[in-house]
Amino acid sequence: MIEVDELRKSYDGVRALAGFNLHVEAGELFGLVGPNGAGKTTLIKILATLLRADSGRARIAGYDITQAPRAVRRVVGYLPDVPGLYQDMRVVEFLEFFADAFHLPAGQKRAAVAQALEQAGLVERRTAFVEQLSLGLKQRLVLAKTLLHQPKVLLLDEPATGLDPLARIELRDHLKQLNRNGVTILISSHILSDLEDICTRVALIDAGCNATDAEGRSVLTLRGPEVTFATCEIEVVGGVEEAARVAGTFAGARVVESQGMRLRVEVQGGVAEAAALLRHLVTNGVGVARFDPRGAALEDRYRKAFGGERP
């Protein structure tokens, strides 16, 4: 659905993208991670047809972004890191304006605006001015506006910036729902736990190039049959040393960290093996207060890929 080949872009001699490659399948919820200045925003802006690449090729839903930008805009919804809002417009006016900007016919426009209000939970506040909304509601409104023309692909640049935890949870659930409905999503974020929760795969980017983790992978698979090991975060009741010893006796398990009441154990395989480890712990008398098989922890892999010094 999204194909990027050797994309390059410089700003006044400063390289933002230096031959970046990406391949996102239809229906994927794909993450993009890297330190500040890695080129994430530039990449997303180029894909959204806001910037022109110096060289390279990118296609979305089969349309070349340079040769058919209007066709790309028809199928893409773009949400920037700090989305702009017309503060002096009413919520419904704001949505109607963007429905007009996407040339929706009158009947379709009414239905799309009504659906957007419903999805954003803003039906009762449809006549409120945008400036009166909280940051979370504004983010919902902007996302609803981005979905008015029913895009097949969503490009999200740091969508959770500035949101409170509840709003972040809502945003994650909304994105999962959209993805279940068949929308392909490319999301860049510094909040690794969010990406870990929702993404199927994550690409690493640094200095405008495809970065690699310690195992030499530039795209990390977080879900699916390709996942070869899971990192389990375990909170135990009682002695953590005894729990670590018992965990160490499980075939294919390796205790990575043990601190206070917590253990982190890497286990070969997927969720089934993680469940077997839990069973092994409990049957061997370890009191387990919390067990979280998160897959290969993205934070660890990020730290390994980017040296651990940068955020």
Binding site: R70, R74, M89, F97, A101, F102
Partner: protein, 108 residues
């Protein structure tokens, strides 16, 4: 109607001082028309003006004054307003949303 024009009108007319600019515009235009009228109707006869001005002469003078003053004002104000509107779109970070919509550059 261009959605941008509808939006601009809605936003500008919502401003408390919305009456100020149209009033100023009409005041300048009215002043220019009054000047034109007096120039034709009230000035003393000179060597190239063989007769007293007729209603038609005054009508022509008013027509030309309105047309030229309007053109001058529009030529002056249109770039000022469109540049200002674009600056505001940039400042409030709404320009990317417009540029990634199906609006053409001319419409924007």
């Amino acid at each position: 109607m261009n959605p941008m024009i509808r939006k601009e009108l809605r936003q500008r007319m919502r401003d408390r001082r919305a009456w100020l600019f149209p009033s100023l515009y009409l005041l300048v235009l009215g002043g220019a028309v009054a000047l034109g009228y007096y120039w034709v109707a009230e000035r003393p006869l000179s060597w190239f003006q063989a007769r007293e001005p007729q209603g038609a002469d005054i009508g022509v003078a008013v027509y030309y004054t309105v047309a030229f003053v309007q053109m001058a004002l529009l030529l002056l104000l249109a770039p000022v307003f469109s540049a200002g509107a674009l600056t505001i779109e940039k400042e409030q970070r709404t320009l990317p949303a417009l540029l990634t919509s199906l609006l053409t550059p001319a419409q924007i």
